[in-house]
């Protein structure tokens, strides 16, 4: 059995990387990828902790929910990105500086 902290460290690393991508990427799609990385890191955490919960099975169930929600959010986000791109002719999030239509 792999010790718990191994999973946690990997997830911490992934989260950090995802965060970095989110903070710095000049392409909205890559920002999205960063967000997905962070989500995956948290899923890993959920699953790792879930091992100690045979009765309620909360970890794995919520991992599934998260995956599904993430999929949904990606779909929506991509739609938004495409729209935004049409509007601003750019994918750089720093260029999106007006909230009005």
């Amino acid at each position: 059995m792999i010790p718990l902290d191994h999973f946690l460290i990997v997830s911490a690393l992934l989260f950090a990387i995802g965060l970095y991508a989110t903070l710095t990427k000049k392409n909205t799609i890559m920002v999205l990828v960063g967000v997905e990385l962070m989500i995956n890191a948290s899923v890993l955490n959920l699953v790792a902790f879930g091992r100690y919960d045979k009765v309620l099975f909360g970890g794995q169930v919520f991992a599934l929910f998260v995956i599904v929600l993430a999929a949904a959010s990606v779909a929506v986000a991509l739609g938004i990105v495409l729209q935004v791109y049409r509007h601003f002719k750019s994918v750089d999030p720093t260029d999106f500086d007006s909230l009005k239509d």
Partner: protein
């Protein structure tokens, strides 16, 4: 045990390594493929956490769904979006962000290590009362039962939400839009 650990490290290395690489890359298409690799490796890690169904879901939904969606969105869209491939393989790091991220990562890692050395009460209880999932357990069975009983309400909510989201996405991605 040793082989297991080795495979775990290998997968973890692939996951983290390709994630780091994808962040450092400038070429988006390559980055996305690296992301694909990360997700696959992560699925492997889930298996090691004895969550085989989640791993499966990961592969199907993420790898099969999300990523393909991304690639399609990327490739089907305007050409300039695709041409957004800058020269140079790696970009320069952005120092403030990198610093903050490293700091956060360190804090997280530190906390987790603390965590492992002094686990919370419920984990210790679980260990003592032998409530840990073992390799012989049929997790899919438990999952199914739990979803349909204890977590039924959330499950339904999620499915409704999913439907709304997909509809919204389809609406938004329509060519032309309203304005």
């Amino acid at each position: 045990m040793a082989i297991e650990l080795f495979v775990f490290y290998f997968l973890a290395f692939i996951a983290v390594g390709s994630a780091a690489l994808l962040v450092a890359m400038r070429n988006i298409v390559r980055s996305l493929f690296l992301f694909f690799l990360t997700l696959f490796a992560l699925a492997g890690l889930y298996v090691f956490a004895l969550a085989d169904f989640v791993a499966l879901a990961q592969v199907i939904i993420y790898v099969g769904g999300v990523l393909v969606l991304m690639l399609f969105a990327f490739m089907l869209s305007n050409k300039t979006l695709l041409n957004d491939v800058k020269e140079g393989t790696f970009g320069l790091p952005r120092w403030p962000a990198l610093l903050v991220v490293i700091l956060l990562g360190t804090i997280m890692g530190y906390t987790f290590l603390q965590f492992a050395s002094a686990p919370p009460q419920w984990i210790r209880d679980a260990e003592q009362e032998n409530r840990i999932i073992t390799t012989t357990d049929n997790t899919v069975h438990y999952l199914g039962v739990n979803t349909m009983t204890r977590y039924l309400l959330p499950f339904e909510l999620v499915s409704v939400f999913l439907m709304m989201a997909l509809m919204g996405a389809a609406h938004m991605a329509r060519k032309g839009g309203k304005s």
